[in-house]
């Protein structure tokens, strides 16, 4: 999911940097209202970073790791939820070269924006008694959409005339399947938090009284 240096053409790299920078600027402005929850950003970022270190081997020679954007969106909302993913992706890129510096804009767009928004929206829209299902769907949808976006980005960067026709089915298909695991982990973490510390859940509604 982390696009390395060399996969994106300059136009795609530049365009995704612009979109992510604009979102970041808007998110930082909206943060002023959410300062009280700012202390949750660092521990969540540390947890997501560590969880991403665990590569789960799958039969057939594919691997995946938890991404965590949807979880961040569910716990912190669309603006504050951007921050843990920003921290994780910055450290991964700068310290470990996991994800290219030219692709940082695209990686932020996929994992810190699209994944976060999908998780937040699915959780928010779920009825009060179905919040855990909403968390599962958020994790699944977030990964599938992030994979699709990643496929589009490298597809349009390809020199091949049929780039998109190759990348979109591969990326969207695989991530829609792998997203089931992301959804399950997201739902498990949200379920745990809703029982142990319901006040930590973003105003998705319905769990505050639990």
């Amino acid at each position: 999911m982390h696009i390395p240096d060399g996969f994106l053409d300059p136009v795609t790299a530049g365009a995704t940097y612009l979109v992510s920078a604009a979102y970041a600027a808007y998110a930082f402005r909206r943060l002023r209202a959410e300062r009280g929850r700012l202390e949750l950003v660092t521990p969540l970022a540390a947890g997501i970073f560590a969880a991403q270190m665990l590569n789960w081997p799958l039969p057939g020679g594919t691997s995946l790791h938890f991404v965590g954007g949807a979880l961040s969106g569910i716990l912190l909302g669309p603006w504050l939820g951007f921050l843990p993913m920003l921290l994780v992706l910055l450290v991964q890129c700068l310290l470990f070269h996991d994800g290219g510096i030219t692709a940082l804009g695209a990686n932020l767009l996929n994992m810190a924006i699209i994944d976060v928004l999908a998780g937040y929206a699915a959780y928010k829209l779920a009825p009060p008694r179905r919040k855990i299902l909403g968390a599962f769907l958020g994790g699944w949808l977030g990964l599938a959409l992030a994979g699709l976006a990643c496929g589009v980005e490298i597809g349009v960067s390809s020199q091949l005339p049929y780039g998109l026709a190759v990348t979109v089915p591969v990326m969207a298909g695989w991530h829609a399947a792998l997203g089931v695991v992301e959804g399950a982990i997201t739902a498990a973490v949200v379920s745990y938090i809703s029982r142990r510390a319901p006040h930590l859940l973003e105003g998705g509604g319905g769990r505050e009284a639990a």
């Binding site: 202390e39 660092t42 947890g47 081997p57």
Partner: protein, 91 residues
């Protein structure tokens, strides 16, 4: 107090990480992105333009499995430092 628990969970994940490195190497770590890139003939330039001694979660001089966990701890420390700096700026 809840936050301390979160860091305990982080430590557990890091301690378990070498096992996952070994397991995923056994099946041949391969993300869907690698698959798509191969079909397109895209070239990963990471190794050629590398700037960090901790490339791909290794630590110079340490065996890969141990280096992986140590790199993870270094990464968590960096996330925490950066996160706390950001919090001060935004407060």
């Amino acid at each position: 107090m809840k936050l301390r628990k979160a860091y305990l969970a982080v430590a557990v994940l890091l301690a378990a990480s070498p096992l996952f490195l070994v397991l995923s190497d056994m099946v041949g770590y391969r993300e869907p992105l690698d698959l798509a890139a191969e079909l397109l003939g895209l070239k990963d330039l990471s190794e050629e333009v590398n700037w960090t001694p901790f490339f791909d979660y290794t630590v110079p001089g340490l065996p890969p499995a141990l280096g992986y966990a140590v790199a993870g701890a270094i990464g968590v420390a960096a996330v925490v430092l950066l996160g706390e700096a950001l919090r001060r700026v935004l407060k």
